[in-house]
Amino acid sequence: MYLLILALFECMGAKASLREGVRTFMKSYDAIVIGAGHNGLTAAAYLAGAGLKVVVLERNPHIGGASISREIYPGFTYSNCSYVSSLMRPEIMRDLELPKYGLQIIPYEGGLTMTRDGGYLASYTDHDMSRREIARHSARDAEAYDRYANEVLRQCRFIKPMLMQTPPDPTSFKPRDIKGLWDLGRAFHDLGEEAMYDTIRFWTMSCTDFLEQYFESEVVKAHLAGTSIIGTALGPSSPGSAYVLLHHYMGEVDGNIGSWGFARGGMGAIARAMAAALEARGGQVRTEAEVAQVIVRNGKATGVALASGEEVHARIVVSNMDVKRTFLKAMDSKDLSEDFLRQVRNFKIRGSSGKLNIALDGMPDFPAVPKDCPALQGDLHITDSIESLERAYDDWKNGMWSRRPYVDMMIPTLLDPTMAPDGKHYMSVFVQYVPPKLADGEWSTEKRDAFGATVINAIAEYSPNFKDLILHAEVRTPHELENEVGLTEGNIFHGELTFDQLMFNRPIPGYAQYRAPVRNMYMCGSSTHPGGGVMGAPGANAAREILRDLKMGGTGAA
């Protein structure tokens, strides 16, 4: 009896591996996801969770896309692109059980802006503390801060439910689109009369105009305006920049709206946890598998051809690449309509950011800030007026990096013990503005290093021992972001977050519901609603739409 059972088991095992063998040979899957960015991994994990056989094909030898951390200087882990988390949807972390696979997000304390006159303005998570701090600069602004914070929170409350929803198509008469629009309209109406007007203004006005309504102090405005230009090819006074500010406020860490935190171990920890969740659901990730082209037969996507020449087939193809890379690089234009291609070409995806990752031999001094100020744990800035933000933007318009750049500088190792040897520090410096193309031609190694030197010198003005502490620096301009990370023009959000490219217009009007114009093909990257940032929402939303088309809705997708 016992032997019989054993034999039975062996037989079943053999059968299973035979089936595997056939599948591997044919390289056929239910779904291919192109790109192991965090959105690709999210979509893949949901699809695998619903029982599909999924493979993720990643061009690079490492996964994560812009949600990545790597050791490129011994002993130090850099968050090479994104560096802080807030937007990452908690429902996704929960659905995919990411904590089980090692994900932990640690909230940090506020941030600060150093001023040219040797002072500083800090923001803290404690409301009373922040108010007292603002009062050091303007008693009136301290009073206005409550109003400002309330207004921003109201707007966040309106937007947040939309993050995990497929944007309704206003031109469609399908019941679900009509219901979606109705829900949207009702949520809008529920804002109340005044807030309704404010919402429209908010979505279209400039950050400067928005802040001017509340504050008088230059440094208070500059400190708050920073998030309106991050990753954005707009100045703080350009219409539309107020929304970008909101985009950075609508996240949360464990229910604390607007809070930001570090992923322990760097932002790669998010992608790693997702990949582990995917594998636990039976999915597979293949690195160094660059997709050269999506194969389309009879108007249907049937698989992909890799750069190596290998073909991989699947019932559906999902692209995590940005919309330009997807349709202009990885597809044959004959498979798409002229009209669609024109709109893809016109999609605004101008790069405007750079990044320095620096290994430090110790904690740099910032004489303007007391050593025990907890805001040093947060984001540090050296631009103390809106005017200088605007001037920094002028340089970008003129085709060069800002001579006095805006930096969003952080030292994650003050909280995260895993990223540098004890006593040493990792500094992440996000830089605005850096153009994808320079007025005097293409980027070169020399120009990249000159850009790096500009940033380091700017910081050194506020930290006398900074340069001496530098052990190694990774410098990335939009050129590197495009070529190494795969972000068209180096745009960190896969396309600008302006009103004309949001909601049912993102990425292309009529194609906001994650379906490509070719059947069986979908988009799941940050070019889709609700846009960029390490959020996971595009990936989860796309998976939900796919499962809906496969009539597998309600099988574990968000």
Binding site: M129, E143, A144, D190, L191, E194
Partner: protein, 395 residues
């Protein structure tokens, strides 16, 4: 040396050097950015001192705004919903102010010092709103919160303490009257006001003089059983007095993220504070419309069966239809009644029977649900003659 905010996130009241050593249980709470005593040691004893003897409460964290100038009276009249023309210099009035939609931003007290000078006191911060409303008025608005300290002396024997200080003139003060004295070479205002529904006085003077006044009051009060009280004991007294508190019994419209959380004075049961006859005021149009339409809900007092405080309880009409919720509740030791302040949807706010409160009862970490019948009761729950008798009764 002043500490940076990250080392001292909370402000210290001018009386901190007196209240801190007395706060033996070290129980503090935040109030408007200040550290404020929650309980000195024993809430029950502090509460009974309010109803039995005399108490001191540090009221300094209150926001205080000085409104002065030729248009001051017109301005205040425009700001708040009640009539202020009838408010004579030397009088104090309770008032609410609304936004344009007729939703209450806060409540507070208005002190009229002279024809062209007022002081508005409130719990929340309103400088921005007050300045917004001042556009077009020849009026000066100043936040004097930091400069002026306040001590509340409450309890049946509070007048004895006042007398012991030699301030006999207070004998003729009626509720909501105020008068002025010289204290240590500076002005001091005493108003017959308070938040306890009992006999009591509030002292207002320059922050630098607050400690000296506190010491004198404590000394003079020794013979009358005086003791300092924290906000928890005060809260019990205010529920018995039937007063509502913003952020507890309703959301101030300026702070609510959900616009539907705003409450009109009618909904708060403060109809008597709205004077449509006095000319235009902020929120008037919306309130007129609401008066036509009828309010959607109302804040009421409840008398609940049993003795289990109905904190945060839901209210049902019959056994299943949820029609409101309790916002403040206590077993009243003075009235020996189980009382609550609640918001009820219309038309249940006028129901005479059939209302039930769902109470969760902690029986030594074993929770049980009790459904207790309740009925709408008049506020104040506690209204002793000594509250308004002038001259004060001997107690």
């Amino acid at each position: 040396m002043t500490q940076p905010p990250y080392k001292a996130p909370l402000l210290e009241s001018p009386l901190h050097s007196r209240t801190a050593p007395l706060c033996l249980g070290n129980e503090w709470t935040r109030w408007g950015g200040y550290a404020s005593v929650d309980t000195y040691l024993n809430t029950e004893h502090e509460y009974f001192a309010i109803r039995n003897a005399a108490t001191l409460f540090d009221l300094s964290p209150m926001r205080k705004y000085r409104v002065s100038g030729p248009d001051a009276a017109r301005y205040v009249s425009r700001l708040v919903t009640r009539d202020v023309d009838g408010l004579r210099p030397g009088r104090v009035a309770y008032a609410v102010w609304c936004d344009d939609l007729g939703k209450v931003l806060d409540d507070g007290t208005i002190f009229r010092f002279g024809p062209d000078e007022f002081r508005i006191c409130s719990q929340e911060r309103h400088l921005c709103w007050f300045l917004d409303c001042a556009i077009g008025y020849d009026v000066n608005i100043e936040d004097v919160s930091e400069r002026i300290a306040a001590i509340s002396l409450q309890g049946p024997r509070s007048f004895k303490v006042v007398q012991a200080l030699g301030l006999n003139d207070c004998r003729t003060l009626k509720p909501f009257d105020m008068t002025h004295f010289d204290f240590d070479g500076g002005p001091m205002t005493i108003s017959r006001t308070g938040f306890t529904g009992d006999l009591g006085y509030e002292f207002w003077l320059a922050s630098e003089k607050a400690v000296s006044l506190w010491d004198r009051l404590m000394e003079a009060g020794q013979a009358y059983g005086i003791r300092p009280i924290g906000s928890r004991a005060l809260d019990l007294a205010r529920i018995e007095a039937g007063f509502i508190v913003p952020l507890v019994d309703f959301m101030p419209a300026g702070e609510a993220l959900r616009p539907s959380r705003g409450r009109s004075p009618f909904e708060l049961g403060l109809d008597w504070l709205v004077d449509f006859g006095k000319g235009h005021f902020v929120g008037r149009r919306a309130l007129l419309a609401e008066k036509e339409r009828g309010r959607g809900r109302r804040v009421v007092g409840l008398d609940i069966a049993g003795n289990k405080p109905a904190r945060d309880a839901l209210i049902y009409a019959g056994r299943s239809k949820q029609v409101g919720a309790v916002t403040s509740a206590m077993w009243s030791p003075t009235c020996k009644r189980n009382i609550a302040i609640a918001t009820l949807d219309r038309p249940y706010d006028t129901m005479t029977e059939g209302l039930w409160v769902e109470i969760y009862v902690d029986k030594e970490r074993k929770w049980e649900k009790a459904m207790a019948p309740c009925r709408i009761a008049a506020r104040p729950f506690f209204k002793p003659p000594r509250r308004s008798a002038t001259p004060p009764l001997d107690y």
